[in-house]
Amino acid sequence: MKSLFQKSLETVALASFIVLGAATALAQNPRIQTTQLDGLTAKASQTVDINIDERLIELTIKFLGNSPDEVKVKDVVKGLKGIYVKSFEFEKEGEFSDADLESIQSQLRNTAWNKIVNIKSKKDGSVGVYLMSNASQISGLAVLASDAKEITVVNIIGNVDLEKLTRLEGQFGIPELGIEVKPKRKN
């Protein structure tokens, strides 16, 4: 009887350990689920849906040449394990709901994610930049940007160099966005 109790206790402990381990692993997973946004494709006037896994990144690296621009790109993507982008642009305002945004934000509220930038504006929309770190290394990046007519989720898995990635704008055929600079408010 005692041995039966002991065995069941061991089994429960093992199961708890496995569940806890799985939960921790899930919590530490830098991959953001964005499939819940797929319904917006029908409403969007412009959709970008990019899923590049490690194998494709490695294949592309082999395919990139040795020109200075391509070397910069190689430098940024080297060692990354995945790049996932989902972006929807709409003709009209109000085509996506707060629930759509919340489905992403709820994942980013996980303690493994650190919010490094979060700018909210009723006029200009909001931008949030989140990082997941593992010891001294970045293991994931998430950017959630939205305004009245757009929602964009960028999710990069691996040790990404933010500075290099930001500096890519305007290079290698990557045009400067020319993002509208709002006139400063008069105080």
């Binding site: 494709t41 969007a44 006037s45 412009q46 959709t47 970008v48 849906d49 990019i50 899923n51 590049i52 896994d53 490690e54 194998r55 494709l56 990144i57 294949l59 592309t60 082999k62 395919f63 040449g65 040795n66 020109s67 790109v73 940024v76 993507v77 995945g82 790049i83 982008v85 972006s87 642009e89 003709e91 930038v117 700018i119 200009d124 931008v127 949030g128 930049v129 990046l141 950017v143 940007a145 964009t152 960028v154 990069i156 933010l162 990635l165 930001t166 890519l168 704008e169 290698f172 055929g173 990557i174 045009p175 966005l177 020319g178 993002i179 509208e180 600079v181 709002k182 400063k184 105080n187």
Partner: protein, 199 residues
């Protein structure tokens, strides 16, 4: 002549007709006479000339066969060496396995994958023209691409992946820049606001 000599004319059974006999003699010289073919001396091929190409053909065939055998042997040896280099136990992490399963770029395996980008003209907004950028990459970058040891399907996949990658990097860098600019804007606004307060 036509009545009595008709049989002679047709089957030589009737009374012989001298005119017909004369004609027979005249035309008989032109009758077909079988004889063996006589090739003129100058045209006839000599035995020595005929032998040379035959030997050459045999030698060439043997050389090709030897070359083929040599190639096959060397290839076989190389494959054997490569197999012997493979470790007994392959180790792959779970992440790598997942990475192999993940790709969901398009659904048709036979066609080269390409990013799903739906574009609509929006001239009034300062947005990214995805199609133009993609087109730019297609025009400007493809000829400069070096293709080391890629077969056609891999090259197509790599080209599609490259375009996707560039688009993804562009979106990512633009959004990060946007965040950076907005943060800087807020900082400068706060500084101006504080200066006014102090003043």
């Amino acid at each position: 002549m036509m009545n009595n000599n008709d049989d002679y004319l047709w089957d030589k059974t009737g009374e012989p007709d001298p005119e017909i006999q004369e004609l027979e003699q005249v035309l008989g010289t032109l009758r077909y006479q079988p004889r063996s073919l006589e090739i003129p001396e100058g045209i006839a091929p000599s035995q020595k000339r005929a032998l040379l190409p035959r030997f050459l053909a045999i030698a060439a065939t043997m050389a090709v066969m030897l070359l083929g055998a040599g190639l096959w042997l060397s290839l076989h040896r190389r494959q054997g060496n490569e197999v012997s280099k493979v470790p007994n136990k392959a180790t792959t992490s779970g992440a790598e396995k997942a990475a192999v399963v993940v790709p969901d770029i398009g659904s048709d395996d036979s066609a080269p994958v390409s990013p799903r980008i739906e574009v609509a003209a929006k001239p009034n907004r300062h947005r990214i023209n995805h199609a133009a950028v993609s087109h730019e990459f297609a025009n400007n970058r493809r000829p400069r691409v070096k293709t080391p040891d890629f077969d056609a399907s891999e090259r197509n996949e790599a080209m599609a992946a490259k375009e996707q990658l560039m688009l993804a990097l562009r979106v990512a860098s633009s959004k990060l820049s946007l965040a950076q600019r907005k943060a800087q804007e807020i900082n400068s606004e706060n500084q101006i606001h504080n200066q006014h307060k102090i003043g």
